[in-house]
Structure formats: C-alpha cells, structure tokens
C-alpha cells in the first residue's frame, strides 16, 4: 500500500519505519530534512509538501504535537486536504482535543476523505517495540481498511466509537495515568515520612486491590529514583490541559484530575518538565520539605 506519513519525531519515526519494514512504500514530508535521514535505507520517497504526500498515498498518517499543528498539516495551505483525492483515508495519531478532531473529520468528509482519530498510549518505547495501544474514533469501514497497518505499529487497536472517540479514550487514559502516578507518588512520600520503606509497601500492595501496572512499573522507577523519560512531564501537562479544557466545555466536574493537573503545572514551572512524569514524587518531596 502507498502510505503517507507526516510528523517524524520521537514517536512518528519508529512507527513509520515499522510500516516500511512491512513492505509498504512511504511518502514523506518533513519541515527539517534531517528528519528524513533514517529513511534512506527503506522504500521511501520525500515530497515537497503534505499535499504532495496525500496525492500519492492511499492512507496518510499524521503524528505531531498539538491541535494547531494537526490543523495546519491537514487543513492548512499545501496541507493533506489540498492534495487528497476522494477515497483517501487520513489517520491522526497525535493527542489533541476531541472537539478539534471532530472538526478536522467534518472538513475532510466534505472532500470525500475519511478520517480516523487514533491517539496512542505506550510512549517512545511502545513506538520502537511496536507495542502501542491505539484508540480509534471514526467510521468502521475506514478502521477495517487501516487495521492491518495499526497492527504493524501496536499490539492492540480498538475502535472506540465515532469521530473524536479515540481522543476521548486517550483523555480518559491520561486521567487514569496522571492521577495514578500522583497517587503512587503520594503514597510513597507518605510511607517514607512515616518512617516506613516505600519499597516494602509497594511489594505488599502489589498482591492486593491497590495493584496496578503504574504501582508496579512507575512505582519501581520511583524507588530507583530513575526519572529519565519515558513520558515527559510537560507532555502529560499538555494532555491534562486538553482534559481540563474539555471538562470546562462540557460543564463536567473532574476534581481529582484538576488537582493532578496543578501538580504537573508546578513540575513544568519548577524545571521538572523534561523529566518523566513520575518526577511528581520529587515535587511532592520538595513541597513538603523532604528533598
């Protein structure tokens, strides 16, 4: 299949390479020529614009930072929509506001172009190992068409619902992981300040109802004081901002997520933004005078 890919950063690069290794031809566009370097040895063709990429592809993937970037690359001048023919399928795998995703979908539909919002969980490690969890919103027909490609990039792809539903699922994912990481950090700080070894607490809790993957994996990294990302705190802050803006728009109360978003704000403001979001433990220690 002819596949377009725009957004060849930390996540996009390994994802695109998996598709090339599966025998597909890649059509690429990148703002910086250096981003194309890793694709010299695979079947890939560079184009002068996202529109040109779309003109040559059956499916175009985008993987960029935020909603304005997605809108620029898809709807902007020389964007995907300009070059895309009727029958093209566009798949945005960035994490953006569900409402913005729906708007992009509506705009593309007017040109007979199908759209899936398909944000991922699993981070850079998941992208490199092709073990991402992919949450998809959009038309079932388009999903079936793209599913074999999703399977090259991740270990699971779920059609959650109509357009925007993938982004809603991702927002739910960020609520659970954000609040979960903060909860583990609070529990560990609490244990330590009570004179109890948090490592022993973790071990005891893993067998009970407080078990979670976050307690197991993120908790271990907190004990190892290994704050290398992983998933950078500033990205989690951005995702929580999306969640809170959507809650505001809907008139929806998210008290725990709101409190967690404030911790991420403080991390970014105090120089912890480039660390993994588990460094929320360091913030709690600092704020309670224990660092």
């Amino acid at each position: 299949m002819e596949i377009g890919f725009v957004g060849l950063g930390l996540m996009g690069r390994p994802m695109a390479l998996h598709l090339a290794k599966a025998g597909h031809t890649l059509h690429l566009w990148a703002r910086r020529p250096a981003s194309l370097e890793p694709f010299r040895d695979v079947h890939a063709k560079a184009h002068v614009s996202a529109a040109e990429v779309a003109r040559h592809a059956d499916v175009v993937f985008t993987m960029v930072a935020d909603a304005p970037d997605v809108e620029q690359v898809i709807l902007g001048p020389s964007g995907v929509m300009e070059g895309g023919q009727s029958g093209l399928t566009v798949v945005d795998m960035s994490t953006i506001n569900p409402d913005a995703a729906r708007r992009v979908g509506v705009a593309l539909a007017s040109r007979g172009i199908a759209f899936l919002d398909a944000p991922v969980s699993g981070g850079e490690v998941g992208a490199v190992n092709a073990t991402l969890t992919i949450m998809v919103g959009g038309d079932p027909g388009a999903f079936e068409k793209v599913r074999p490609l999703f399977e090259k990039m991740g270990k699971s792809a779920t059609l959650v619902g109509p357009s925007g539903a993938g982004q809603v699922a991702k927002a739910c994912n960020q609520i659970l992981t954000g609040v979960g990481v903060a909860a583990v950090a609070e529990a560990f700080n609490f244990a330590r300040r009570s004179g109890v070894d948090p490592g022993r607490v973790r071990e005891a809790l893993l067998g009970g109802f407080a078990y979670s993957r976050i307690l197991e994996n993120h908790g271990q990294r907190m004990l190892d004081r290994n704050f290398k990302p992983g998933f950078k705190a500033w990205m989690h802050q951005k995702d929580m901002r999306i969640v809170m803006e959507e809650a505001h728009r809907l008139g929806l109360m998210l008290p725990s997520a709101a409190a967690t978003a404030q911790l991420f704000n403080a991390m970014v403001g105090s120089g912890l933004g480039e660390e993994d979001s588990i460094a929320v433990l360091r913030l709690l220690e600092r704020m309670s005078g224990a660092e």
Binding site: M244, A247, H248, A261, Q262, N265
Partner: protein, 292 residues
C-alpha cells in the same frame, strides 16, 4: 470629551449613562438595536458599528464578553481599528486573557492607537453607582489621558503595570473572590447539615476574623436563598478558563482554584449558569442530603 462605548449590557449601559450625565459626548454601539435605543434617548449618538462609534472619539471603550468578542470589536472588518483616529485610545474593560489583550494592543499600536486593558470589579451595582474598581494595564501616560473618563466610572483606578497587567490583576481578583464564595457555600452547607442556621453563623462571622465582603454579599444571598443574578455564574466560569490557561502557560499550581473550577463546571452542568455564583451552594446540596 468624545467617548465611544461599545457593548451595552449590564455593565456597559450604566457606564454610558454615567458618562452622559457627566457631560461627555457619547457614541454607542451594541449589536441589538433595543440595547442602543435607551442610550440614544438620553442623547448618545447611536452607531451601527464599532468603527462608526470610534470615529471622532478620543477614547473608545469596549465592555463585551469574551476574547473573540473583543477581537471582533477591535480588529474586525468594521472594528475600532477601521474608525479610530491616530492617537485615539482604545480601552477594553471586558475580562479576557492577558495574552489576547497583548496581541490586540500590538496590532492597534501599528496604527498608532494605544490600548489600555482596564477590567473592572464591582459588578452591575458598582457600574450604576460609579464605584467600580478599575485595574489598568498599559502606558502610564495614556492612562493619565483617560483618567477623567475612569473617574466618572469608578472610585478606584490603579495602574498595575504594562499591557496585559490589568487582565492579570482581574484574574487574581476572580480567583480570590470565587474561592471565597465557594468557602462561604461550604460553610453554609456544613452549618445547615449540622442543624444550625447559617444566617446566624454569618452574622457572627461578619464581626470576626472571617468577615469579608464576599461573606457579607454572597453569604447573605445564600442565607436568604436568593440566587437571582447579581453576577451570572457563567461569567465566573468563563473567567476560570482564562486563569487556568495562564497557570498552565506559566507552570504555576493553583490547587484551590482548580477545585473551585470543578465546582463551577458542575454548576454549569446543572443549568445554573444564569444564576448568581452564590448557587455554588446548590452544587454542594446536589450531592445529596446529609443523613447523619
């Protein structure tokens, strides 16, 4: 002085009336003709666009709702930028994001139209009584030129700092005020759930260390269960999106304000956005009756 007033809602209308009463020549614009008419009857020049109102004005004031409204009034195809003379001052007294105020000011500056951001505190009552507190961002010399107009509208005029600083002050004002309203609501809920009359609690507290204007005014409304708007809660809800946007951009934690924001979200969900913000009490009551 020739003054334009754009936006004739609960705030703009009494402000325009006060300016007329003080002897200024006033041009008015609002989208709805029925909002313009009463001012025209008092002697204001009725205009069909912000550009038209700004034509010939030394000071053009906007008092509208959100970021997009102010951008339209200032920079739209029939906006102030199209009508105002070089050297005329644009004064935005709406509550909007500081970054948006700075952006609009930059665009107007290219046409030699200086801008002040001058949001107010004091509500419709303060606007009528000309007792508003006005928080000003922008050039101090420009403020001095506009001061005679401000003196007609309010009793406290403070130059906070450069452009955008007035909106930062307003965000702080909203944060402190609505958090205090929520605290009153929680006290009222605790008192009545404990079988105690909140009106008596409020009366006692007003004389002590917890006494405050919010406890007086909003606490009073809660005690009387009078939720007819003073300040429509939906406006405070809007302001909380602004101040949390600022907090995220600056990397500042606002844990209490974040909780209050969620209570406002719940209030909106219940359809109480048109009520007074004292209705935060009703949000707490919606959690269910205390049974013990």
């Amino acid at each position: 002085m020739d003054v334009a007033v754009i936006g004739l809602g609960a705030m703009g209308r009494p402000m325009a009336e006060n300016l007329l009463r003080a002897g200024h020549r006033v041009a008015v614009f609002a989208r709805r003709p029925e909002a313009r008419r009463p001012l025209a009857q008092l002697g204001a020049r009725e205009c069909l666009s912000p550009a038209d109102a700004a034509r010939g004005a030394a000071v053009a004031i906007s008092v509208v709702t959100g970021n997009a409204d102010v951008e339209e009034v200032a920079l739209g195809s029939r906006g102030v930028i199209e009508g105002a003379a070089r050297g005329a001052v644009f004064v935005d007294m709406s509550t909007i994001a500081p970054a948006v105020a700075r952006r609009i000011g930059d665009r107007l500056a290219e046409r030699d139209i200086p801008m002040l951001d001058a949001p107010v505190s004091g509500g419709a009552v303060g606007a009528r009584a000309a007792t508003l507190s006005i928080m000003v961002g922008g050039d101090a010399n420009v403020l001095e030129r506009v001061r005679p107009v401000f003196d007609v509208l309010g009793k406290t005029v403070v130059h906070i700092g450069p452009r955008g600083a007035g909106q930062v002050a307003k965000a702080c004002n909203q944060m402190v005020m609505v958090a205090a309203i929520e605290a009153c609501a929680e006290a009222a809920r605790l008192a009545s759930a404990s079988g105690v009359d909140f009106a008596r609690v409020r009366e006692a507290m007003l004389g002590g260390s917890a006494g405050s204007r919010v406890l007086d005014v909003f606490g009073g409304r809660m005690a009387q269960r009078d939720f007819a708007a003073g300040v429509e809660a939906r406006l405070h809800h809007k302001d909380f999106a602004i101040l949390h946007g600022e907090a995220a951009a600056s990397g500042v934690p606002l844990p209490v304000a974040a909780s209050v924001w969620q209570q406002l979200n719940a209030l909106m969900a219940r359809g109480w956005g048109g009520e007074d913000t004292a209705a935060l009490l009703r949000v707490l009551e919606a959690a269910g009756a205390a049974t013990r």
